[in-house]
Symmetry: C2
Subunit: 373 residues, 2 copies
């Protein structure tokens, strides 16, 4: 899907420098085996041409995995550090004590301009806090990085953000999420003009609270040039009604976890049903190839990798429990973002947002209806 | 489950008057066939002893259905009206023009003390607005009725509220939802001390925005006597971690619709998988009895019927597209609520809430952490 973004150099262009991806090799539940395994998986699936890796962590453990998994030293640099951040370390503590850790050093490589992106499966709170500290936010309105969830839908994948840190979001922040989510979706999923919707309790303009109605009005009238669809409801996410669903981090986080809970609930019922009787077991065995093909469509590894958007640099969070295939997918997202014009597009659009906000007429006293039908 | 609440009269008590349930016979997509069918279904499943029905709407159409479905005139009174509220009528318009309609008259019967509860499959906005106009809210802090969703879980059914009208809810409203949801769950599901959780983005006390943290503190310290569990996350809903999940109407509505979308997404994938090849079809046919039994566990008809809580009277909303079995379940909920001490418990607890709020020490300046792990 992202082939168009890999941009083979034209005849007159010089060969581009390789894309360097900085990796926190010690993060997550598994550390080096999954990180090095992720490199191998990424190269196997995507070729890995023009990509190099910079691994931060326990050099001996990393090199042992490289040998075991037959990952060439030609594509990997290793920078040793003994220090790592624990999975349960609080963000404030991680910021105070994290300097020199694998996570810290991995982000520093992006700040220094050495790496094009960083991937870590470490503690989300620590990753977010240290990324913000080292890289800083890309716009004054942004308080915390937004986390994107890639949501499997009937039509492909929809980006939902924020699913994390921004518990309360005003209209301006919601529009910033729209700008960043749109550029992300184009860079990673190769969609030319991704459609954007704001999550609400109804599709009419008068539904919802002030923040979503104001954000919707600005996206509709403000000339930001996004392909704005309007409001969408919860069931539109899995339908794939739009490419990018924008919401505050409280609602987004609850929607995501609720969905995970429902998926697990149905899969538990299904497993129980298909093992409940001898006859059901027989049917399940016969239908197994089709059921396995279905399970692949909703394989969490295939959608692993949530970028933290809004920073001056590309940071991709891999799930702490992800396997090598999952980590490989997070690497793919980092590479696609690093090679695209994501940072420039977002920078330009965030810059225009200030002008748009000033030029808009004040909110009209529109009627408000809070009941849902 | 609710057998304990049907309370057979003791030897010294007089036989109680029958419970009269007022029905809007013209509401929903189907009108009389489903409403009269719902009565038949309710009687068939639950006996219907001591329950009578008061049907409002087109008398000829209602009586024709009673004849067709063999529902005895002994248990039904019919009050004719030509007028009905359209499914797309706006709440404000319905309030102005709705007097004398089947929906209006059905609610009036509760207000007059004639009926113990009302069930309507009509337009939610109109039902909510007219219920509030006629019955009034039960406490000054309540602005709009809260809608309860009965959510199938791995451990049974969890009540989630508000999933509807209260777009922004402060701490006091969230506690009112807790009080009402707890009493509802006890009355309808026969659980003696239902556990209550507040929906949040993490389980620690410092997570989330001020409203949820304040509500949680009051439920924990305020001596309201609820069986308060603490914060729950989105995936706890389908796990059945608690009996009652409390949230604002914006988050609750989005969580509910997101869950419906995911359930539909998975069921679509499953159907596609099980019809994708001849072999898969064969397996599906063999496993069909087990798959059907599973489908029954998540049958929407079995959980249809969402009460509008917080009114001076019991109003149950049936889904507009519900079938007779679904409408029958909404009737069951109305009967269980009308026969329980739901109204008294809620009244007493809401009364105590004012005292609790006054007696609590002010909020301490607790640290706040918005990142999620």
């Amino acid at each position: 899907m992202s082939a168009a973004l890999t941009r083979a150099p034209g005849a007159n262009e010089p060969l581009p420098a390789p894309t360097l991806i900085s990796l926190d090799a010690m993060g997550g539940d598994h550390g080096p085996p999954v990180v090095v395994g992720g490199i191998r998986d990424y190269i196997r699936r995507h070729g890995g041409e023009g990509v190099r890796f910079l691994l931060h962590g326990d050099e001996a453990a990393i090199r042992a995995e490289m040998t075991r998994l037959n990952v060439s030293a030609d594509v990997c640099d290793v920078r040793h550090t003994d220090k790592k951040i624990a999975s349960d370390e609080k963000p404030a503590q991680a910021m105070r004590r994290g300097k020199g850790s694998s996570l810290w050093n991995a982000i520093e490589a992006v700040k220094a301009g050495e790496a094009g992106a960083v991937v870590s499966a470490g503690n989300t709170g620590a990753l977010m806090a240290i990324s913000k500290l080292i890289l800083r936010m890309a716009a004054p309105g942004l308080e915390r990085p937004a986390i994107v969830a890639s949501w499997p839908t009937l039509r492909g994948v929809t980006a939902v953000l924020d699913v994390g840190a921004n518990i309360e979001s005003d209209a301006e922040q919601l529009i910033e999420f729209a700008i960043m989510g749109e550029a992300f979706h184009r860079a990673v999923h190769g969609v030319d003009r991704p459609t954007v919707g704001i999550l609400n309790v109804g599709s009419e303009d008068i539904k919802g609270h002030e923040e979503v109605r104001e954000a919707s009005r600005i996206l509709r009238e403000g000339g930001l040039g996004l392909n704005y669809h309007g409001f969408v409801e919860g069931d539109d996410i899995a339908k794939g009604t739009v490419d990018v669903v924008v919401t505050d981090g409280f609602t987004g986080n609850i929607a995501l976890k609720t969905a995970e809970g429902v998926a697990r609930f149905i899969s538990t019922l299904l497993k129980e049903a298909l093992t409940s009787t001898l006859q059901a077991k027989l049917g399940a065995v016969i239908a197994m190839p089709a059921l396995k093909a279905m399970a692949q469509k909703i394989d969490p590894s295939a959608i692993n990798g949530g970028p933290l958007l809004g920073l001056n640099g590309i940071v991709v969070k891999s799930h702490g429990g992800a396997d090598a295939k999952g980590f490989g997918n997070a690497i793919r997202i980092a590479v696609d973002l690093a090679r695209s014009d994501y940072m420039q597009t977002v920078g330009a659009n965030l810059g225009r947002l200030g002008t748009v906000l000033e030029s808009l007429p004040p909110v009209s006293a529109s009627p408000r209806e809070e009941t849902v039908s």
